[in-house]
């Protein structure tokens, strides 16, 4: 098991991570979610020891990763922004190089690379150096290098960034296949909630370096609001009565002339609409939107209402 325990990191007095704890088991996919600057990449880089953190521990099978660099044999990483391969080599040459760099070689490794190369759809680009590949195929080449020696834990930092729909689907299939065949644990950071939704067992949400949520994706989904009501008025409304118009779980933000409410069930809004009608209040604008998972998640993070 890979365990991050009360990890703290700050830069020039500004906290980047504050007491972040979570775990990743073999055969499990954990998503690390959060906006830009939330601490996702800092966490991944800490696990790779590319960053010196201030406090806390990171352990693999109960061994502190600072005690020996040999833990890196158990880690495969695709770091953000296509920064993972030697662009002057082909995908297969990269995979061979990085497997040997971690201390792995031989027939089994070569066979594994060949199989993954085909599964990733890279065979038709076998003779091209990475610099000549498309963004999606560059990402696949990076994944090939990270998976080539079958590490116990694979860290994927924003793996879907810049990829088209088909490539994202391919990536999902590959991760699912690896889970079944190689019993690897995946830690995935992403903004793409649809991608996360299809592959992850557990979600860790960070915001400004703080852990907002750790639990199953279903639990997170249950906390997401499904609707958003926006009203623009031409006359001020009695603010004191607004909260009493809503039941159940909701989040209401209002000033004199605008009202924004996030809520869970369609009939929660009826009392509000009835009040407007009864008091003959004519809205300049009234919209009810069904929130996508992504938008709902963003709304919830902004409200810091995940705990």
């Amino acid at each position: 098991m890979l365990a991050v325990k009360e990890l703290c990191k700050s830069y020039a007095g500004v906290s980047a991570l504050s007491n972040v704890s979570f775990s990743l088991n073999r055969g499990e996919v954990v998503a690390l979610l959060g906006a830009n600057g939330s601490g996702k990449t800092t966490t991944v880089q800490s696990i790779c020891r590319l960053i010196e953190w201030d406090q806390g521990d990171i352990t693999i099978d109960n061994t502190d990763i600072r005690s020996s660099p040999s833990f890196l044999k158990k880690i495969g990483a695709v770091l953000g922004g296509c920064r993972n391969t030697n662009w002057r080599l082909t995908a297969k040459q990269n995979a061979d190089y990085f497997a040997r760099l971690r201390g792995f070689s031989g027939t089994n490794i070569r066979q594994n690379i060949d199989q993954l190369h085909s599964a990733l759809g890279l065979d038709e680009h076998a003779k091209k150096e990475v610099m000549k590949l498309s963004t999606g195929n560059k990402q696949k080449a990076a994944l090939l290098s990270a998976l080539s020696y079958s590490p116990d834990f694979v860290l994927l930092d924003e793996p879907t960034l810049g990829l088209d729909f088909n490539t994202v689907n391919d990536l999902q299939l590959i991760i699912k296949d690896q889970l079944q065949t190689a019993e690897q644990g995946f830690l995935v950071t992403s903004h793409d909630l649809d991608f996360i939704d299809k592959i992850c067992d557990k979600v860790v949400v960070l915001d400004h370096g703080q852990l907002l949520f750790e639990g199953s994706l279903d639990t997170l989904k249950a906390r997401l609001f499904k609707y958003e009501l926006n009203i623009e008025l031409n006359q001020p409304i009695d603010m004191s009565i607004l909260h009493s118009l809503w039941g159940g779980r909701f989040d209401l933000q209002a000033d004199m002339l605008t009202i924004k409410v996030n809520y869970e069930l369609p009939d929660q809004s009826l009392k509000m609409l009835h009040y407007l009608h009864e008091n003959n209040i004519q809205p300049l604008r009234l919209e009810i939107d069904s929130l996508s998972m992504e938008k709902a998640y963003q709304t919830l993070v902004q409200q810091k209402d995940l705990k």
Partner: protein, 253 residues
């Protein structure tokens, strides 16, 4: 000796030289062209002075500088170029440590460099007709023993590159300074002995040009010079690497 890392770096050299054969060949031609320009530029002047020994010195100095540039650049090139090309973070994930990886990379590049140096030496001697009686095994032995001082020096500059990123100007200046280093005389012991590579270059010159006898005290000075600069380079790089990791600067460009 970690043969795994060594052969991996040799293989990387082979891949790059084979796939970018035009770059490899044009690099060789470029070096040879520079030398020929220098050689014929000063030949007339030197012959007027009746000093044929200077042409031999120029040839040997050129070979020493070519080797020194390669050994010094093997680490700095990796850190600076791989930071720009973007996979230096993956090199830091080497379980044997980044410094070990760089040392094996330097060794493999030096060995390949010596092979290319032999080609360059024979080509320039053939073209200029200025044949040196070089015992290559002896010559290369001295160069390999003195190369760690340049690698250590390269590690110091590379550590600065991790922190300050844009150190190409400093690197280019130091590359030129190497011309001075290979020309200085660091043997017997004097103030220049303490500069990197100077004792090694002096010993190579004494043996190849002056046909001097092998001296154990000179060899010990060369080894001590290498040891001090390599140890200093490793210490400096580790300290700067720690700073870079604290500030999250590895790979950021």
């Amino acid at each position: 000796m970690n043969t795994h890392l060594f052969f991996n770096e040799m293989k990387l050299q082979w891949y790059e030289m084979r796939q970018y054969w035009f770059e490899t060949l044009s690099g060789l031609f470029f070096i040879i062209a520079i030398f020929l320009g220098l050689f014929y530029g000063i030949k007339g002047f030197v012959l007027e002075q009746g000093d044929g020994q200077s042409l031999d010195g120029l040839l040997l100095g050129f070979l020493l500088w070519t080797f020194a540039s390669g050994a010094y650049g093997s680490v700095t090139k990796s850190v600076i170029e791989d930071t720009q090309k973007g996979y230096i973070e993956q090199l830091f994930l080497c379980p044997n440590g980044f410094i070990s990886l760089m040392l094996y990379r330097s060794l493999s590049e030096s060995i390949v460099g010596l092979a290319l140096l032999t080609v360059i030496a024979y080509v320039v001697m053939g073209i200029t007709g200025n044949w040196l009686n070089i015992n290559f095994a002896y010559f290369y032995g001295i160069l390999l023993l003195s190369a760690p001082s340049l690698v250590g020096f390269g590690l110091m500059i590379s550590g600065l590159a991790l922190l300050f990123k844009r150190v190409e100007t400093v690197g280019a200046l130091l590359n030129l300074a190497l011309m001075g280093l290979v020309a200085l005389d660091g043997l017997p012991l004097n103030v220049f002995t303490f500069l990197p590579f100077v004792p090694g270059a002096s010993m190579a010159r004494d043996i190849v040009l002056d046909q001097s006898l092998f001296r154990l005290d000179h060899l010990l000075i060369v080894m001590a010079n290498s040891f001090v600069y390599l140890a200093g380079g490793i210490f400096t790089f580790k300290a700067l690497e720690k700073q870079a990791k604290k500030r999250n600067l590895i790979g950021q460009y």
